[in-house]
């Protein structure tokens, strides 16, 4: 059987070229994605501790929250910010040195790396070496890194405000941060919380690890890098990247598998006569199946190998593109490790599996071919084009519609989540693709007028499987483009609307300039201006048990991050639709929630702050739930140590305007009118999402386009005898090319119509989920371009081969 398979592959290279190319490209896409995913999950291989290179043991609080769930087992949930070391722990461990890190930046000096302040004792941990001057001896003295004039006075901004210090000395800079060293006492005053403990003594370290109830972890060796400033951000960025890549990989895999499976199924269908002859010569059904599977495995192995090689070439390029777009830390690259070998193995096996599985059904059908079919012209395909296909298509379509209805009506917040949207779109498109041959008869009815139309319709309906093979890549390309672009743009619009809504009652927005957030000093000045109402808002996340199904009020098994905002003082400048209770009285004991929590005023909620401290807060207000708004509103003190991102300000007169401007100018901030701020927010959101979208869709659509071309080329080679017969019967070359073009045009239009139906369903569900707050947005120019591209590729890929096939060739007798 293997010899036969090898011989068939060798001599019918043209037939297999289409499937080979489809598979190779598909595997290359999967390989690229998995290699980058492996690198993203692997973390930084070159990590070396920077700030703590000179101390053997670093003690920190465990950055994961250990929670006992309903079933009694302990789960760990990653915290959103590094918790402080409690003071009680410090007293229990003699011989440890405290380390503090907090925002501190010399005014007017831009920071390329995180600008952090520490106590002077921390300098020895890295170690930082004094290059001039001396250590700070008074509380108004500092030591900075890099070239600076000793003795000059500079203004340093921290979260509290700005203060003037004298530069007492300089140290040689190191990578990873731009530090300012204060005296230990001044550092303790600026940031009382201790971020880490350091010890040179192994016994103390093991005591720390064993302290009950303190959840301390001791970092040694390369793990000390986890305490470095960039590590937490990097980890968060990489987690986001992994999620995002997961969605991209899912889409690419779906497209690759569908296109390849179609190509393989078509190649088997085109060889019915060969297989019938084999059966008549005495091949049992099982032997026929084994031959076809052996061929598929050969093509699969070859295509997968080429695909993996291509993936090795493209993965590093994808990684550098991701870094350039700011989606990953600057050190991110694809490196070779067990993870990458595993990724390639997965891609290779996936390729072979797809090849064999896609022919399995066709092979089974081929095995049951009656040998007498070898004698008949198998121009009309068997009536029962696979009951499994019909069943599979119906199941997929029903599941997709059910999931869509669930998201549209119940799990509304998932409607804008890209992963959910991608999953629903995939299931719906897959179901439609499976059902397409059965829909052809009714779909082509409007084309059936006149002689040409009748011929066209008859051709399509009798060659239903071949027609479906052409429709499927078009369906995927157009369906993905319309659905995902539509969901994405609408989600953007909803998010913007949410932001705008918060600022609807304000006149101005105060934003930081050069600092990561608004300082306390600025906020005090803001509140002291007469005639001005202001609320400072901090965007943050908190951990809470999220209610899953609203009517049944079940809770998720582990606490999940929930978007929240922290307010310093609620005022009329902040517009939130309060349904029950009132926001006045919001302090560190109270909370306001949106209506999706099913809580009432007076209830108590147990949640966790970003650093893992558990708090019990009383609900004092319920606001209207919106897709893009925060679902929890807390007092600033519960929102973590991050500085507020913006302040909404409402003024009552022109004098107040002037006073406001004066107050803001004296601190490092700027004031913008609300309309200008709204426009700026739009642009920023759009830009962020656009990058990810380019990646997600670009690959899927490019591959689909290739799928369209290869399927049409393959089906063209299978129709060679039919076309030359037409030619001999008297049709001119041009007439035949017109017929072929018309047929592929009709099929492409059918594919677009089906994809439009799917997209309408998806976007309709989205519209219901948004409850009319935002209307559905579709980028028409881009969608139009993609659809036009499909049509052009389809027509070219079918007419060009026909044109060349019908070239007059001397002395050849067509059998």
């Amino acid at each position: 059987m293997l010899t036969l398979a090898l011989a068939t592959v060798r001599t019918r290279l043209a037939t297999f070229a289409g499937t080979f190319a489809a598979l190779a490209l598909g595997v290359s896409v999967i390989a690229t994605m998995t290699l980058v995913l492996a690198a993203a999950s692997g973390g930084n291989p070159h990590q070396r501790p920077e700030r703590f290179a000179a101390v053997p043991y670093v003690i920190q609080v465990d950055p994961d929250l250990q929670v006992r769930d309903r079933y009694g087992s302990v789960d760990s949930v990653p915290l959103l910010a590094q918790p402080d070391v409690p003071a009680s722990v410090v007293t229990q461990l003699p011989g440890v040195l405290p380390d503090r890190s907090f925002y501190a930046q010399v005014e007017g000096v831009p920071a390329a790396q995180p600008a952090l302040g520490h106590g002077w004792s921390s300098a020895a941990f890295a170690p930082y070496v004094l290059t001039s001057g001396h250590a700070p001896s008074a509380d108004d003295e500092i030591v900075v890194a890099g070239p600076a004039t000793v003795g000059s006075r500079v203004s340093v901004v921290t979260a509290g405000g700005s203060r003037t210090y004298t530069i007492a000395g300089t140290v040689r800079p190191r990578t990873g941060e731009q530090p300012i060293f204060f005296t230990d006492a001044e550092a303790a005053r600026l940031s009382p919380g201790v971020d880490a403990l350091v010890t040179y003594d192994a016994a103390t370290a093991s005591r720390a690890a064993g302290l009950p109830g303190a959840h301390l972890q001791v970092l040694t060796g390369a793990d000390r890098h986890e305490a470095d400033p960039g590590a937490v951000q990097d980890a968060t960025e990489l987690t986001g990247l992994t999620t995002f890549l997961g969605v991209a990989a899912m889409l690419s895999a779906f497209v690759a598998i569908t296109v390849t499976a179609t190509a393989f199924g078509l190649s088997v269908a085109q060889r019915r006569r060969d297989l019938a002859l084999l059966r008549s010569l005495g091949a049992t059904p099982k032997q026929v199946m084994r031959t076809i599977c052996a061929e598929a495995a050969l093509v699969g192995a070859g295509g997968s190998a080429v695909g993996c090689l291509l993936g090795l070439v493209w993965a590093p390029q994808l990684a550098s593109w991701i870094v350039r777009q700011g989606l990953a830390p600057s050190w991110f690259s694809v490196y070779f490790s067990t993870g990458s070998v595993l990724a390639l193995a997965i891609a290779f096996l996936a390729g072979v599996a797809v090849a064999v599985l896609s022919v399995l059904v066709a092979a089974f059908r081929a095995g049951t071919i009656r040998p007498t079919d070898a004698l008949r012209e198998a121009a009309v395909e068997p009536k029962r084009i696979g009951r499994f296909r019909l069943l599979g298509g119906l199941v997929a379509a029903c599941c997709g519609v059910a999931a869509l209805a669930a998201v549209a009506l119940i799990f509304r917040s998932a409607a804008t989540d890209p992963k959910t949207a991608a999953e629903i779109v995939i299931v719906l498109i897959g179901g439609t693709a499976l059902l397409s041959p059965f829909l052809l008869r009714s779909l082509t009815r409007p084309f059936g007028r006149g002689t040409a139309g009748m011929l066209l319709r008859a051709n399509i309906v009798t060659g239903a499987r071949r027609a479906a093979a052409v429709i499927v890549p078009v369906l995927i390309t157009a369906g993905l483009a319309m659905s995902i672009l539509g969901v994405n743009d609408t989600a953007n619009a909803a998010a913007n609307a949410g932001q705008h809504q918060q600022a609807a009652d304000a006149d101005f927005v105060v934003l930081p300039a050069g600092t990561p957030g608004l300082t306390t000093a600025l906020l005090e000045r803001l509140h002291s201006v007469s005639g001005v109402e202001a609320t400072a808002v901090t965007d943050t996340s908190m951990l809470a048990y999220q209610p899953r199904i609203t009517s049944l009020n079940l809770q998720s098994p582990i606490p999940l991050p929930v978007t929240a905002i922290g307010l310093d003082e609620p005022s009329a400048a902040l517009n939130l639709k309060v349904i029950a209770g009132s926001l006045t009285g919001l302090d560190d004991q109270t909370i306001a929630v949106d209506s999706s929590w099913n809580e009432h005023v007076g209830d108590t909620m147990d949640i966790w702050r970003p650093d893992g401290t558990s708090v019990s807060l009383k609900v004092i207000a319920v606001v209207a739930a919106s897709l893009s708004g925060p679902s929890l509103i807390v007092d600033q003190h519960n929102a973590g140590t991050a500085m507020p991102d913006r302040a909404y300000v409402k003024t009552d007169s022109a004098d107040s305007d002037a006073a406001l401007l004066a107050a803001v100018r004296s601190e490092d901030a700027r004031v913008v009118p609300v309309s200008a701020w709204s426009a700026a927010v739009n642009d920023q959101q759009a830009k962020q999402n656009q990058v990810g979208l380019e990646l997600l869709l670009g690959i899927a659509i490019a591959y689909s386009a290739i799928g369209i071309a290869s399927t049409l080329l393959m089906s063209a080679s299978g129709r060679r005898s039919e076309l030359s017969l037409l030619h001999k019967t008297g049709a001119t070359r041009r007439q035949i090319v017109w017929i072929v073009a018309a047929e592929s045009l009709v099929l492409t239009v059918l594919g677009i119509v089906l994809s439009a139906v799917v997209s309408c369903l998806v976007l309709g569900g989205l519209y219901l989920a948004l409850a009319g707050s935002v209307s559905v947005v579709l980028p028409w120019p881009l969608v139009g371009a993609i659809l036009a591209g499909c049509v052009v590729i389809a027509v070219l890929a079918s007419t060009l081969p026909a044109w060349f096939q019908l070239r007059p060739r001397p002395g050849v007798v067509e059998v």
């Binding site: 036969l4 002859l277 010569l281 005495g282 049992t284 032997q287 070898a374 004698l375």
Partner: protein, 244 residues
């Protein structure tokens, strides 16, 4: 006399859309071992259907077929295939060979499918019998129609089948090549005691057979022993005239 193939009251119908066509209507025939039988008749008389059902390539709607002492109706698809592999040789009118294999590989294909050991000398000898030993490594696209047909005959004979069925084997060949093929078949029957059942249109071809059976409208119309070409032609004309 032992029967190579026995057909009892065989009926085969095809449904095309709403109407049903009866290809064979309760046909009963016996083919003795070592005989050369030709089956003739106008188009639509059911001769190809008879051949295919007798060879086990298709299943009749009712009636029984036995090859040797084995009855075909009770066998499943795989068992039927194995039986055909071991006992039946079949030559089609066209499209007989796997286009991707050489002549030698085509000849040995049934043996390989049966899992039997392939003796290269025997393959070359089979090709030599049909006069194509020098074309063993050529693919079908490099052979003429007559040469392809001869390779098909070599393949059909290489398993030493009990019965050789041939469906219009000389239909697409010129006079001289037809003569060669028919002489070959005759030699198989006379020298080796092969049983051959052949469907043909050509009175000259039928004249090589021991007996000619005429079919019309799915039933046996006539039987002629030791036929000559003229007698066969006369019978054919009579049948076609009466059918109008």
């Amino acid at each position: 006399m032992a029967m190579a193939v026995l057909v009892e009251s065989m009926t085969k119908t095809y449904s095309i859309g709403p109407s049903t066509i009866t290809a064979l209507d309760h046909v009963s025939l016996s083919f003795p071992v070592g005989s050369f039988t030709a089956v003739m008749g106008p188009s639509g008389s059911g001769k190809s259907t008879l051949l295919q059902c007798a060879a086990g390539l298709d299943r009749p709607n009712s009636g029984r077929v036995s090859i040797g002492e084995v009855e075909l109706s009770g066998l499943g698809e795989t068992a039927l295939t194995r039986l055909r592999r071991d006992r039946v040789g079949f030559v089609f009118q066209s499209f007989n060979l796997m286009p991707s294999l050489t002549a030698a590989q085509n000849v040995e294909l049934p043996l390989r499918l049966a899992g039997r050991k392939v003796d290269q000398q025997a393959i070359l000898a089979a090709l030599a019998t049909v006069g194509l030993a020098d074309r063993a490594t050529h693919r079908p696209s490099e052979l003429s129609g007559g040469q392809q047909q001869r390779v098909a005959i070599a393949r059909a004979l290489v398993t030493s089948p009990q019965v050789l069925f041939a469906d219009e084997p000389t239909g697409a060949l010129d006079t001289k090549t037809s003569r060669d093929v028919l002489d070959l078949l005759r030699a198989m029957v006379t020298e080796r005691g092969q049983t051959v059942i052949m469907v043909t249109h050509d009175p000259m071809a039928a004249a090589s057979a021991d007996r000619v059976i005429f079919l019309a409208d799915g039933r046996i119309a006539d039987t002629v022993e030791s036929p000559t070409a003229e007698a066969v032609a006369a019978h054919m004309t009579r049948l076609e005239v009466s059918a109008c």
